[in-house]
Symmetry: C2
């Protein structure tokens, strides 16, 4: 019998944040691809686009006009998935038809007035302004009684459902803790109760010792390809010291966070010399007024590309019905990312 | 205060098959869409394509030649995600780096020698041949000691990662029960232990009484939009009598299953008058040699399209990080689907 080699043989890995397994098929990385090719992002956008509803001073889809802002700008989403209105609910739950009203606030965060930029093309100083806004928004929304969780995220690239290339992210603040965050919290909590340390403190320690999945790091943060990553170039930024949420970040930590964001997104752009698409978002403690010693700030990056700027990984079929699946191993991905420059390819 | 109306107000619904919640935002269905548009499928394909590696008599990517088959044809995937080889595994599991080797078999099932067809364009008789093959394959693979679960599925359309339009599906048979199936099994099991009936027997009874989410039905099967559907036009086919798996289907039931498959996929094609993309797959009892009275045969359809043949729902950002989200309600989707003809638009 051959003996098992994780670089060659199919295997499953365990994800302790979601209590889920994932299938890894390293031998499949070389199959030919004749399927769909994605359009790549336009390389050169103007600094101001008169038709962009996020540009400074422009009119939005609902008729409101943006102020002539410089830097960041936050507004309530004109077509939000949540409504802040309180509704009366008396319906009896019956059998399998269980539903509950959900309240919340959806905001859009413009990262810059400059339409042509993306995070990796902004200076650390300007990214730090975005981090400041995330912290301010978190504090403001957390103070509202009916807001119990705040999801900060960015969809980058049209392949990720982003309908406007102007640099921006979103904040969805709501009355419930959403499914995946609740799952993560349950896992963090049972680990913390058993070990008196956060799961991510211990995990990061093991990753720093192993080294092979680390992509980049600075004084306060590490970016790595999780051992259980399901997207080909998935990464996670973890705070080196346990922080429950972004409200706890010092000025220095916010600057460090901006720096690791710049490095990681630059590495991503350099991978295929394209504006690298992803969905990224912060997981942090709920704002439900309870104690959350189990929480440990982290940010997930889920980028869809697999082989080139045009060929993505399809999470379909088996993956939708059975289990997440990847071809290239997390160790291979991390090695590729780690060897890329933190100087943006457009600047070379 | 306004009183709650599930047709107007954001709410969450509970999915008892996965023990998960989902966010429904009915008020958001009308937001403008300026984002990515998908390419639509080519409407007229030849019956035989000399460059297709699935056509009868052609040479595949790995150099093997397909026989001059008529009807269905099954072969081992040349670039499978699993390997059938047994490997020796002695590695110590340490800390967060938990992995286990996985064995299995990946097969491709051609539905017809006719390159131009898709399921809704095939006759019930020919679809029945596909169902026969699924049953045969299930029996053959279930008999293997190291195969404990068999995932039968189809990715249809290039938007669903399908790299070849020749009508075909896949079977992944493996040694573990994959994550989502295991979750479903846990849910079915605890329900069965408490109620002495399968979860889907009781659920289907409530759906038949409610009526509003039923799409189509025949003597042995019902197709409906689940109360907790997350994709805009997601459906599920459920056997009216409890069947643990496809091996238990009689000839008559297989014909009924073929008929409901034809009706549902025709309705789908008629929705946007396009060859409607989806990932679909059967969930049924594991083949692990244990008793599975809790299982109840069903088939999920996860179609990505939202507004037209070119505009899909993006499950990104919030959905990847927090919770599945939909705009149009399951009841609205079911009403739209139910009112469509079961005669294919190309035949009218
Ligand atoms: O096996 P195929 O058709 O080449 O590949 C397709 O289906 C597989 C199973 O759902 C996925 O893992 C792939 O990402 C997808 O492109
Ligand atoms: O809010 P947007 O940018 O219009 O929409 C995008 O992000 C949302 C949140 O991830 C998703 O629900 C939408 O499917 C996607 O198109």
């Amino acid at each position: 019998n051959t003996s098992f080699d994780p670089k060659k043989h199919p295997h499953r890995r365990y994800n302790p944040l979601l209590d889920e397994w994932l299938l890894v098929s390293p031998q499949r990385a070389n199959r030919p691809w004749q399927g769909q090719r994605e359009e790549t992002a336009e390389e050169n956008r103007p600094e101001y686009d008169p038709d962009c509803y996020l540009c400074s001073g422009n009119i939005r889809a609902n008729g409101d006009r943006n102020p002539a802002y410089q830097g960041t700008y936050v507004f309530n989403n004109d077509f939000g998935a949540l409504l802040n209105e309180e509704v009366e609910f008396s319906e009896e739950q019956s059998g399998f038809f269980t539903l509950l009203p959900e309240r919340g606030i959806n905001r859009v965060v413009c990262f810059s007035e400059n339409h042509s930029l993306t995070l990796p093309e902004m200076s650390v100083e300007h990214i730090k302004n975005v981090v400041d806004v995330w912290q301010e928004q978190f504090n403001e929304l957390a103070a509202l009684d009916h807001i119990n969780y705040i999801q900060i995220f960015e969809n980058k690239g049209s392949i990720m459902g982003c309908s406007n290339p102007h640099p921006h992210g979103q904040i969805w603040a709501q009355s419930s803790v959403p499914a995946m965050v609740q799952k993560t919290q349950d896992q963090l909590k049972s680990y913390f109760e058993k070990n008196k340390k956060t799961l991510l403190e211990d995990y990061l320690e093991q990753e720093m010792a192993a080294g092979e999945r680390i992509v980049t790091e600075n004084e306060h943060f590490a970016a790595l390809v999780p051992f259980w990553a399901s997207w080909p170039y998935e990464t996670m930024i973890i705070s080196k010291q346990k922080r429950e949420n972004i409200a706890e970040f010092s000025e220095e930590e916010k600057e460090s966070f901006a720096a690791v964001l710049k490095d990681l997104t630059t590495i991503y752009d350099n991978l295929f010399e394209t504006s690298f698409p992803y969905s990224a978002g912060i997981h942090q403690s709920p704002t439900d007024g309870k104690e959350h010693p189990e929480w440990h700030f982290h940010m997930h990056f889920y980028p869809p590309l697999l082989r080139s700027a045009e060929v993505k990984k399809f999470m379909v079929g088996y993956e939708m019905l059975a289990e997440a699946q990847r071809d290239i191993t997390p160790e291979q991905s991390a090695a590729i990312l780690r060897n890329l420059s933190t100087i943006h390819y457009k600047r070379k």
